[in-house]
Amino acid sequence: MTLSQYYALIDVQARMALKSDASRYYFGYLWWVLEPLLYVGVFYVVFNVILDSRRSDFLIFLVCGKLPFVWFSKSVSQASSSIIANVGLIGKIDVTKTLFPMAVIQEGLYKQAVVFLLLFAILLFTGYMPTMAWFWLIPIMLVNYIMIVACSYVGAVLVCYMRDFTIFIGLGMIFLMFTSGIFWDLRALEPAMAEAVLLYNPMALILDSYRQVLMQNAAPDLVHLAWVGALFGGLTIIMVKLMRFLSKSLALKALTA
């Protein structure tokens, strides 16, 4: 399979999934913006209305963290089940197994493009004007994307061998949500603790980087970001090779377990 064929297959599967999803819901494509807004709404009510956040810019602080996080958590959770969800195709033809998580990731990418536009609209509407610093978003989004790909591959393999991992992955996402500073500020922690969180939780770094750029017009910690990108990039390459090696075993597991 050539790279262009591979991409065409991912693209066509993603578009089909988006289309069939939209046709299933009454509000159709509107859910692309409604869902993230509802997520933000829920968090806003809990952490700003009920528990006073003591931040005048809490809404912006929240959207800059929550919207990229939802991109990660939804993509990875869904991609983790993608191999077993495609047993029909897997039982019919010998295909590269990365195709299935990638199709889910691509689907998430199309949705996220709209979500980022929504984020920018909220920022503009509340008086945050774009500056040259916003170009730093490109490497941040790229690292964010690489993290999604690497974690999705790991999740898809684990779930294929043991369905029980879906539960762990769900739990892991909740843990990550609480520890990544979505509704609390990493920079308000004791410096030693903040450093520890940043060191062990790359998601916290990503979310903080988005905020640095969008709210402070400052460059993110590029060295740290590059390390995270390289780490997950390396993991992606290892997983691609592993999934190629395990291809037939994954098919057997998907079809018989």
Binding site: M1, L9, S20, R24, K92
Partner: protein, 231 residues
């Protein structure tokens, strides 16, 4: 173009506990498939017919033994139950199948109308596959496989369903294709069909080849064993 040498396949399945959860599906199977021939595979349910197709198509790997396939030969399996994304329309599924078998998007799209016409699904072609009857599914599956070009076509019981009219049409189309260069492996438990389509046949029993040879004689042995009842 394809050779199986003493192939064994077993797997562990979750919590099923016979033989400690290990299923022995194939137990030392050797066979060769030649270019342009039509090989029939017969046997009772659960004797490993579908598994042997999946091994031949390179979907599964053997636990022991070797599967040798000539380089760059494509293979696809045609089954009734699996193989579709139920929430997508017949058209989308046909497009996806064709692309998975190596067609470009443009090539795949160009044969969609032909698939729609041959399958006689009409407006149903645009409906989600989950609304299809099993006959409609088999029409779609059969037509999709027929229109797309694979070197080895593996057909798993597909002709067993569908109404008589479509079955006759499908058989005719298949025969036309078989007379050409197409290599086909055909699984069925309908004796007459195997006899009319296949050059050669194997009879699988309990993960082993019980008989092998020209379709007629293998079928005779198979039907004789059925009449005698279980051994």
């Amino acid at each position: 173009m394809l050779e199986l040498d003493n192939v064994v396949l077993n797997y562990r399945s979750g919590k099923n506990s016979f033989e400690h959860g290990v299923h022995n599906v194939l137990n030392g199977v050797s066979l060769s498939l030649y270019k342009g021939e039509t090989l029939g595979v017969i046997g009772k349910n659960g004797c490993g017919k579908t598994t042997i197709l999946r091994l031949m198509a390179g979907i599964f790997g053997p636990t022991a033994g070797t599967v040798r396939r000539r380089a760059n030969t494509s293979a696809a399996l045609l089954t009734i139950g699996l193989g579709f994304k139920p929430q997508l329309s017949g058209r989308s599924n046909a497009l996806l199948s064709a692309m998975l078998q190596g067609s470009t998007r443009a090539e795949a799209e160009s044969c969609l109308e032909e698939i729609k016409a041959f399958s006689e699904l009409g407006d149903g072609f645009e409906e989600p596959v989950k609304t299809y009857s099993s006959g409609m599914r088999s029409r779609l599956g059969f037509t999709t496989a027929l229109m797309t070009r694979v070197d080895i076509l593996m057909i798993d019981e597909v002709l067993a369903v569908g109404d008589a009219q479509f079955r006759a049409k499908a058989e005719a189309a298949l025969k036309e294709r078989i007379t050409g260069e197409q290599t086909v492996v055909f699984v069925s438990h309908q004796g007459p069909q195997v006899q009319s389509i296949c050059d050669r046949a194997i009879w699988l029993d309990q993960g082993k080849i019980a008989a092998e040879g020209d379709a007629e004689s293998v079928l005779k042995q198979y039907t004789a064993s059925i009449k005698l009842g279980p051994k």
